[in-house]
């Protein structure tokens, strides 16, 4: 099959869509192109995103801009200890007029859900949300409700105030595709941000995208078909084995995590317009993907990941 046919699935329009989205997100979140890129990759890979950062760094802004960008429904829930599973999934309400139970959809019935400070919710609520993330469906009163196929969760958590929080268990964390930290913007970008704040009119983001309802879905489908050569797959497996053997990693990488890693690498290759992944893709996305899975502090995890990457040889250039 010639190359042209192989890349046909990388539809020009789809890339255009991603491009536009990138521009919008960059406008919303100044000076963080790398974070934006990873968010886009996560989206294209149909994975969920966990943002861990201090308050006020733009987590919500990012989530809102993303929801606006893909043109879907956006909902958010502020997680607190008294938040109940029903508050997230939705609940049946007895309708006095019809004398029937009516299902009230919760915030999960949206395209982009921002779960703010997810570690403040009780484990019960957390697991309800995480189940919805994993299965893309909720069960309320023995009835299954299917969620939007584009359902994308951006959860945030605050690493500073640990009082009264319920840290997400490792098993649950595995459901997120990647964990990112936004970090402080550059001084220059901050100045620009301040200037823009004085012009309230411009704060509104122009919602120019006309989202094809299935465009994102199609992108996600075509990401799955990005080719992974056996040698690169082997490289991934070697990396995973190395991580599992690393003395300072308490919990090794699960096969599900490995799959996610591959998917995210595929998404990056796709976004770069390639129909195959290279070891570079694998390396580029290693940190955000592994951050969430290794159960380590941010800096420690970065160190371990770099160490592992430096130990494992990339596949040789042989025919």
């Amino acid at each position: 099959m010639p190359l042209t046919e192989i890349v046909e699935h990388v539809h020009g329009g789809d890339l255009q869509f991603i491009d536009t989205l990138r521009r919008q997100l960059n406008l919303a979140l100044r000076g963080k192109p790398d974070v934006v890129e990873l968010v886009l990759i996560c989206l294209a890979a149909n994975g969920h995103l966990l943002l861990e950062d201090k308050p006020g760094l733009g987590k919500t802004t990012l989530a809102k801009a993303l929801a606006g960008g893909i043109g879907g429904r956006f909902s958010r829930c502020q997680c607190t200890p008294d938040l109940l599973p029903g508050d997230i999934t939705g609940f049946s309400l007895f309708n006095q007029k019809t004398h029937e139970f009516e299902f009230r959809e919760g915030p999960v019935f949206s395209d982009v859900l921002l779960a703010d400070e997810i570690n403040r919710a009780t484990p019960r609520t957390q697991s309800a949300l995480l189940e919805a993330m994993a299965e893309r469906q909720v069960t309320v009163d023995a009835r299954k409700y299917t969620l939007s196929p584009r359902f994308f969760v951006i959860a945030t958590q605050n690493p500073v105030d640990e009082h009264g929080t319920y840290p997400l268990p490792q098993a649950q964390l595995d459901r997120f595709a990647m964990k990112l930290s936004i970090g402080y913007p550059d001084p220059r970008d901050e100045v620009r941000m301040l200037l823009e704040a004085t012009q309230p009119g411009r704060e509104q983001l122009p919602n120019r995208t006309v989202p094809g309802a299935d465009q994102l879905e199609r992108i996600q489908q075509s990401v799955m078909t990005v080719c992974v050569l056996e040698s690169v797959g082997d490289y991934l497996v070697r990396l995973a084995r190395e991580i599992r053997q690393h003395p300072s990693v308490p919990m090794g990488l699960s096969p599900r995590g490995l799959l996610t890693w591959q998917r995210i690498a595929q998404a990056q290759a796709w976004i770069k317009g390639r129909s195959f992944i290279t070891p570079d893709d694998v390396q580029d996305v290693a940190e955000p993907v592994l951050n969430v899975r290794m159960g380590l502090e941010f800096m420690e995890s970065r160190r371990v990941i770099q160490e592992v990457l430096d130990r494992v040889a990339v596949p040789e250039y042989v025919s």
């Binding site: 190359l3 890349v7 020009g12 390639r274 195959f276 070891p279 160490e307 430096d310 596949p315 025919s319």
Partner: protein, 835 residues
């Protein structure tokens, strides 16, 4: 659909028009490096197998040495292959069960058992199979088995090192013991591999600690070059001058020798019964069961001497010469002249030039008269002359009251004890052993060094076989010495160094009238005054003797072809005052007469000088030829001790045996001298090597490029990958090789100098060729062209430039970092100062 045409190349580029190439997201932060458990494991197991291989080589070397030609080749190799196979199988099993072996408590006791069982096998073998090994072979066998066992369980580096250590000892031992040529080759191979092992072991140890930038690849070039250089140096040392390898021999205990007796031993003096017989190699030392019946013309000593120093001129009786000998001496000389039975009992210094080699039969391969085993240079005495009439020396008589010869048994062997007249030497001596094997010599006198005390011939234990030839020489009571039978000699050699340091030497020789006798006459006065002028202001003693010798050696030259006219003056005076050149006998006569004129007792000695140059390292002996017939003199130093004096230039009296560091030093000086002697070769070789070293990178690159050009891959994909490998070779040569954990394109993005459209295209294609399905490249045209262009643009020169600027960058960063540190330090001190 995205395809775009660049430079006539259909080349798929992502992003269609936008052409975004985003910088990498993840920071390429510095990080510590390490070796993964997997790598470490593979390193270890590689070392383990390497060790086993080395042990097998050492085992083969030792077994070949052990066989020493005494076993059939097939039997020997069957044993080697069987042991090697067993070792390999057990090593693989050990590697498979590494966990078990690593911690098992039974391993160490088993290892200890291995040599013990090997040693215990020996008595069993001697009892049951009636065959055995010499002591050192027994020990080495047990060590060999221990080495193999250690190599098998060598999962830990320490155990591997132990095995290797024993292997090295085995190899050195074997190389020193054997005469087989192939051993040297195998040992050289072993040395090569062993140095590689060291490098590999060192490398795998250091990998953990090294920066990740440098820790990627094994230094294969050094793995090969290091051992090669070491071996070359060793080979040069061995090739230089004498065979210095044989100097190692003294470091190993050989059974037999002067000490222990072992019937299974096969080396050293006082050999065992199981010695290698001289059947297969006529020059080997050993008792010979049936000496070859060689019915050839063997030169007698007389022939040898005449061959060497021409024939004596028959004196014209009418010529009158003023020679006045004291009447008492004259009487004894007259008596003696009548009793001279053999030719050669007198030696005239007046000789006629003869055509040399006229009688030499063609086709005689060896002209050696005898072989000497032991330390050389060595003066082997065969005749002693005491009376000199101005022209002719007369041989010393057998003693009137001979001391009784007797046999002593040393370790079951009969040794003839040669007693010393007078009181035992008060001078410092050291004991040396030699063995002499006459081959082509018809002579009853036993050629022996001065001070021989013990003498041994296999199976000869009857005193009446021997007789005194004179005061200090023993001869056999038969026409000639038995051929090919080694005669072992043990002598007390005077330490001439200590002799010179001794202040008070008596030199008083009251009884030695003959040894002090001189022909009277005007010539003697001239000689005496010359001797006195040479030794002016030097106190009596060794200083005077040395002065005369050194003057003779320095101012007179050795010339065997010179003709002396049979005229009014004797050859000695012609030599001393006119020609100042002559053969050795005139040097020796001159020294003897001059010393006598000053009151020292001297005697002229003829015999053979075993030259170190003739030392045959393989046979471990020195051959002595007819041309090695030599004259020297001996001086009486007191007590009953004579000292060898060597007045002829080019001959030396050996000092005490060298200690090991002296031997080492002499090896090195020999090597340097060899270098100096062949300086054009040395210089040009070094220059060639320097040029090679200087341009090695370019040469290697050229070789790689030619290979790349001449053997192109057929498919486009293969060609691209081949080009990528060429690029990697060049990167490595320029010192910026791609780390194993990075892809080529990522690595190349570090170098801003190496960015261009073609290069970019090529790198992308390489990525595609390596990581995309094969079909991706099918539709692409002009791949070969692009490969050529890329190979041209990624030239070694460009890559080197990039590498240099990269290094500069790193330097600048380091400098600026240190600057900022020092600035900060200054600032802090500034701030402190006003406070």
């Amino acid at each position: 659909m995205s395809g775009e045409s660049e430079g006539g190349l259909r080349y798929w580029h992502p992003g269609v028009s936008s052409g975004r190439r985003r910088a990498n997201v993840t920071a390429d932060g510095a990080s510590s490096a390490g070796v993964s458990a997997g790598d470490e494991h593979s390193d270890r197991s590689l070392l383990h197998y390497f060790t086993a291989g080395l042990a097998i080589i050492a085992m083969a070397v030792f077994l070949i040495t052990d066989a020493d030609g005494g076993r059939s080749e097939s039997g020997l190799w069957t044993q080697i292959v069987a042991e090697a196979l067993l070792t390999v199988i057990l090593t693989i099993m050990a590697q498979r069960n590494r966990q078990l072996i690593d911690a098992h408590p039974a391993v160490t006791p088993l290892l200890i058992l291995v040599p013990i069982v090997s040693l215990l096998w020996e008595p069993t073998q001697r009892l049951l199979l009636d065959s055995g090994r010499p002591f050192e072979m027994m020990m080495m066998h047990s060590q060999k088995n221990l080495m193999l066992a250690l190599a098998i369980v060598g999962l830990q580096p320490a155990v591997q090192r132990m095995s290797l250590f024993i292997g090295v000892i085995l190899c050195v031992f074997s190389a020193a013991m054997t005469r087989e040529h192939r051993i040297y080759w195998i040992v050289a191979g072993y040395g090569f591999c062993a140095v590689s092992w060291l490098i590999l072991g060192y490398w795998s140890g250091i990998r953990v600690r090294m920066l990740r930038e440098h820790a990627q690849r094994l230094p294969f070039q050094w793995l090969v070059a290091g051992p090669a250089i070491a071996l070359l140096a060793a080979a040069a040392t061995i090739a230089g001058g004498r065979n210095e390898l044989s100097s190692l021999r003294g470091f190993f205990p050989g059974s037999g020798g002067e000490g222990d007796y072992d019937e299974y031993s096969r080396d050293g003096v006082n050999d065992g019964d199981a010695l290698v017989a001289g059947r297969d190699d006529i020059r080997s030392f050993g008792p010979i069961d049936e000496a070859p019946m060689a019915d050839s013309e063997k030169p007698s000593l007389y022939d040898v001497i005449n061959d060497r120093f021409d024939e004596p001129l028959r004196k014209n009786k009418s010529v009158q010469r003023a020679i006045a000998l004291p009447p008492d001496i004259m009487a004894s000389i007259q008596q003696r002249l009548s009793t001279v039975r053999h030719a050669g009992r007198e030696f005239s210094t007046l000789r006629r030039k003869s055509e040399k080699g006229k009688n030499r039969a063609a086709g005689i391969s060896s002209t050696a008269l005898l072989y000497v085993s032991g330390r050389v240079p060595l003066h082997l005495r065969t005749e002693v002359f005491d009376v000199f009439d101005g022209v002719t020396w007369y041989a010393a008589e057998p003693p009137a009251d001979p001391l009784r010869l007797s046999f002593v048994s040393i370790r079951g062997k009969p040794w003839l004890q040669i007693p010393v007249r007078g009181n035992v030497s008060e001078f410092q001596t050291f004991t040396e052993t030699h063995a002499v094997k006459p081959v082509n010599l018809k002579l009853p006198t036993i050629p022996s060094p001065l001070g021989t005390r013990l003498l041994h011939m296999e199976h000869v234990d009857r005193v009446d076989m021997f007789a005194w030839k004179n005061d200090s020489l023993i001869c056999m009571n038969r026409a000639s010495l038995p051929e090919l039978v080694p005669i072992h000699l043990q002598s007390d050699v005077l330490d001439q160094k200590s002799l010179r340091s001794q202040k008070l030497l008596s030199f008083s020789a009251v009884r030695m009238t003959l040894e002090k006798s001189l022909p009277e006459g005007p010539e003697l006065d001239r000689i005496r005054s010359l001797a006195e002028s040479w030794t002016k202001q030097i106190p009596r003693g060794m200083g005077q003797i040395d002065a005369i010798c050194s003057r003779l050696r320095a101012e007179y030259s050795l010339d065997r072809d010179i003709q002396f006219v049979d005229g009014d003056s004797t050859p000695l005076t012609q030599f001393l005052f006119e020609s100042r050149r002559g053969p050795e006998y005139l040097f020796a006569s001159a020294a003897a007469v001059m010393l006598r004129s000053m009151g020292y007792a001297t005697r002229l000695v003829s015999g053979f000088y075993a030259r170190p140059e003739r030392y045959d390292a393989r046979g471990r002996h020195t051959s002595v030829h007819g041309s090695d017939a030599h004259f020297w003199c001996e001086v009486f130093v007191g007590g009953s001790t004579w000292a060898t004096i060597e007045p002829s230039p080019g001959y030396v009296v050996p000092g005490p045996p060298l200690r090991w560091f002296e031997q080492l030093l002499s090896s090195v000086t020999d090597f340097l001298q060899q270098c100096r002697r062949q300086w054009p070769l040395c210089l040009s070789g070094m220059a060639g090597l320097a040029v090679l070293f200087r341009f090695q990178v370019d040469l290697k690159s050229a070789v790689f490029t030619l290979l790349w050009k001449w053997f192109p891959e057929r498919t486009g994909r293969g060609r691209i990958l081949q080009t990528a490998r060429l690029l990697e070779h060049r990167l490595r040569l320029a010192g910026i090789s791609r780390p194993r954990y990075q892809t080529l394109s990522r690595w190349m993005s570090r170098f801003p100098e190496l960015q261009s459209r073609t290069r970019h295209q090529f790198l992308h294609l390489a990525e595609q060729a390596a990581f995309a399905p094969e079909e991706c490249l099918c539709g692409q045209q002009n791949l070969t062209e692009l490969c050529f262009m890329a190979a041209g643009e990624f030239s070694l020169a460009e890559i080197r430039k990039a590498s240099r600027s990269e290094k500069q960058k790193v330097c600048c960063e380091v400098v600026s970092a240190s600057d900022s540190v020092s600035n900060a330090a200054e600032n802090s001190t500034d701030r402190k100062a006003p406070g």
